[in-house]
Symmetry: C2
Subunit: 224 residues, 2 copies
Amino acid sequence: MGLPLNTSVPNKLPGGRNSTAEKLLVAASELMIERSSIEVSLSDIAQKSGVNAALVKYHFGNKDGLLLALLARDAETEVSNLEYLLAQPITPTAKLRLHIAGIIRAYHRFPYMNRLIHYLLHESTAEAADEVSKFFVAPLLDFHRRLLNEGIRAGEFRNIDPVLFYTSLIGACDHLFFGRHAMSRAIGVGPVTDEVCRDYIEHMEALICGGMLKESEWRMANSE
Amino acid sequence: MGLPLNTSVPNKLPGGRNSTAEKLLVAASELMIERSSIEVSLSDIAQKSGVNAALVKYHFGNKDGLLLALLARDAETEVSNLEYLLAQPITPTAKLRLHIAGIIRAYHRFPYMNRLIHYLLHESTAEAADEVSKFFVAPLLDFHRRLLNEGIRAGEFRNIDPVLFYTSLIGACDHLFFGRHAMSRAIGVGPVTDEVCRDYIEHMEALICGGMLKESEWRMANSE
């Protein structure tokens, strides 16, 4: 689930790669990473990219259009990585572990992604939210559906509902980046460092795979 | 984790119960439930409560002050319920299950709570975010710390970090209500009904307690 910064094409643009639009997206993502914020103005983006501000409007309509194209670009890479993962000759459990680590690392490397998703789903227009659902939520849910099927068929996973699974996994991964920000200021929990990320990957792999009860307790609870 | 609507006192008010402030909070929460939204105006709240709009300013400063007081009122009830749960003569595992169900049911009964938390943590002032961290996040984290300690000492839980646990449990519960909204519109996933809530409680209890691997797989993975 790595997210190379400039390998894919904004999906609003017909006819493939457009270098001006791409430059704007690269500048926007770099600014967001530098500032740890999605609050970047169109003129900052224009200045950093060396592109005339009027061209932002031409290519993306408005700022939300640019943010949507940026998330679409990253989602495209993500989705192709999911397909790649699913095709690997490894067990469903191994795929699940790689997927958990992949989500957390992608959020960590591209901290603006989480904020963009929240902003576009909840604070922008209904059309923007629908777009995000279609190019981000739907393919991820579809991947979970297929991975769970594979694991259940292989006898590795319990029978688990994909929508409930999606909700719990994505919610838990997302919250490290969305909730931690607020925790850190007031109650002395530090920021999300590389080490916190590694710890959370380990925590989530263990929790999702085996839960938190000791094995003997879990057997007892299941035989009740 | 039930949240009776008018039993506690807005924590900004010295000298205990103030009936005008309380009326405003009751009106605000009822409007938010009716409209499934936290977008309610001060004049709507004043009208519904029969209180002069100028008194809102007097009691809460501004709208964010009122929203903060509303969340504080509900958090107070929550926190006392956590203390009550911790004192029960049942196993840590049973407490954990009740807690998971309690969080999901509280969010379901008071749909505005989730939106309020997100709004006050991320879209209001730094002071509002700090307040929410102090009266909501900190006591919940402290409860998790004590419950995990109890479960580990009793030999029921693996050794688990409370901050990572808090993040994954609250993130997963929160996402049913925060993420589902966006999913439902574009990709045919329905709204959060009573039945979805019951299913999610069952899903989360099983996932948090025992994970998703079949028992034999989990034993194998752990003996690797």
